[in-house]
Symmetry: none
Subunit: 201 residues, 4 copies
């Protein structure tokens, strides 16, 4: 993290405190909810002075983002979306997994917290885009590119639009509580996105 505030020397940073803070933040937001998540609470739970948080993170949102990065840090880099050759099936598999995760109370609240912080903080949104969403989106686009090569997708597609066409409806329904998130809904979205709303010949 070379762009961190230069006044502090990251070399001296306590790794134990960092992990304790991120773990505490993730757990707390799940337990007490986003509205009652406080820096003081995180510091107390982590057994850390408040200053240690303020020294290394500029906002509550960045702590949350780092917490998510730590959790997803293991499989980072080499992960890829499944590719059985059947795009529709593969997308349904992935979206069903997403549905399961969004329905899991351990992840629901923390993800809402991060999502709403992003909605109000452009800088955090940029960091999120670069470090979490960007890599994820690249994997998705890679899978779609493979489908294009296999002739299963139109060649003139804007892949960013395509990705949003598949994941956007689901995430929007989740965050806005626009309806139940079920495996069947995931399937519907995939089918409709692939076939379009118009009747097919």
């Amino acid at each position: 993290m070379t762009t961190q505030r230069p006044s502090s020397n990251p070399a001296r940073r306590s790794e134990a405190s960092r992990r304790a803070i991120l773990t505490a933040a993730f757990e707390l937001v799940g337990e007490v909810g986003y509205a009652k998540l406080s820096i003081e609470g995180i510091a107390a739970r982590a057994g850390v002075g408040k200053q240690t948080i303020y020294r290394w993170w500029p906002s509550k949102g960045t702590v949350l983002l780092d917490a998510f990065l730590m959790l997803s840090g293991g499989q980072d880099g080499e992960a890829a979306l499944p590719d059985t050759g059947d795009l529709e099936a593969d997308l349904k598999t992935v979206l069903r997994a997403t549905v399961a995760e969004l329905n899991d109370p351990r992840y629901d609240e923390p993800m809402r917290a991060l999502a709403t912080e992003i909605a109000h903080d452009p800088e955090l949104a940029a960091a999120y885009s670069e470090r979490l969403d960007g890599p994820m989106r690249e994997l998705k686009k890679e899978r779609l590119r493979a489908a294009q090569r296999a002739g299963q997708l139109a060649l003139d597609l804007d892949l960013d639009v395509a990705v949003e066409m598949v994941w956007g409806p689901l995430l929007n329904r989740w965050l806005q509580r626009g309806g139940p998130l079920t495996p069947g809904y995931a399937d519907s979205v995939v089918e409709t996105a692939l076939n379009g709303l118009r009747p097919r010949g």
Copy 2:
């Protein structure tokens, strides 16, 4: 509204205070941002005691929702989406208008505020769904139903899914700041949603 909290008598409610509060809330969230929006600030701006807010609204989010309802109250009821017979053109018109509104700083912050409150408050989400989103969605479905009758849409479509397929990507990109909101993007979404990702004939 017979389900009003019984401890207060709505008959005695001051309509002037109600309007002042909703106006102040909407203006303030636009001026100082959601993070700095406070009940205290709303009360001060509206020239009203705090208790008058707490007496009639259970949360900041419900105040915001009512503020939106008041603003959109005029054209309520008889509004309808344009229907020129050309579904694609009509949807592009509507989505371009939505893009313009979401890019308007007067509406951007207030809408984000409401959207993120909804994301954290199921009760508010239900109220929003019933009083703002529901009627809006009905208009959208009505336009799609007309297109179905005209043979422009598949007959076996789940219209709720269809609506989300058109508006979901846009709203998700907006709220999560996933990319620029341009008229061209609106067009892309409409085209892709109608035609689907798969190659056509």
Copy 3:
């Protein structure tokens, strides 16, 4: 009460409400203490609108004063201090009774409430002086005058000073919690006041 605010017609005044308010005030101050005594609480306990209190009393203190007047109203007028011919014994009797009353939790708090309101409100003090303390003091002075006639008291005494010499130490110790209020203390005060601090021949 002919000096009552002329804008209201006392003739129409509800005697039932008046009694309910005074009773509620006296009871409440005993139950919840002076600090938590509120007009709202009195009104609620009395089953009365707040305005009915504000209409007839200018302050909490005057309500308390009237409550005391109502309670002591029965034996008003013809009461007198005991006169057995033995001044010392009579004063001890009276002061022991006073000690007992001040130690009674039913009267302690209300009396403290009234006393401290008086300490901060000259108008209330004047009303108290005229309507409660004055008549009481007259009885005391009358008893002392009888003792003077009997040659038991110096003839050049300022009877107001004399009264305060007997009751002042007791009331001061009570209000300021300067020490325990016991019958023995009452006796000591009477003896010392009568004999003086100087050695007697």
Copy 4:
């Protein structure tokens, strides 16, 4: 002060804030009166957060008590009542000074405030007794003891009663506004207390 609430570390306490709070409290009670004295007002005048007051003082009364202690802190310890050998003259001197102080508007309101807080708060009364009234009373008793040694006072006197016999009437008249506080009244009280009410042979 080892009995300080253990949750706060007195070592870290800001002496500047402490003095500012006590000064502000004393000044404010004199300016706006006891009824309008508020913690919020004290904090604002002192340039201090409310929490800093709540952290170190349990009640408004204890703040006032400490304010008095700070003011009387200078001459603490070595002070003594005048002793010219003439007890009556000395007591008149002291009581006239007391009368002057109680008539001084700078001290009247603050002293009433403290006195009435004490009347309603036994804990505060104990603290007052220990830290302000106790030492004062010791000085008074010391002067009376000297008079006893000089044969000017009865030897079997209860000195606590004696002190109250001299100061009680005065303080009671002051606090209850039972009459004017004049130098002549002070003289009367001293004379009557020394000689007693009974005629002297």
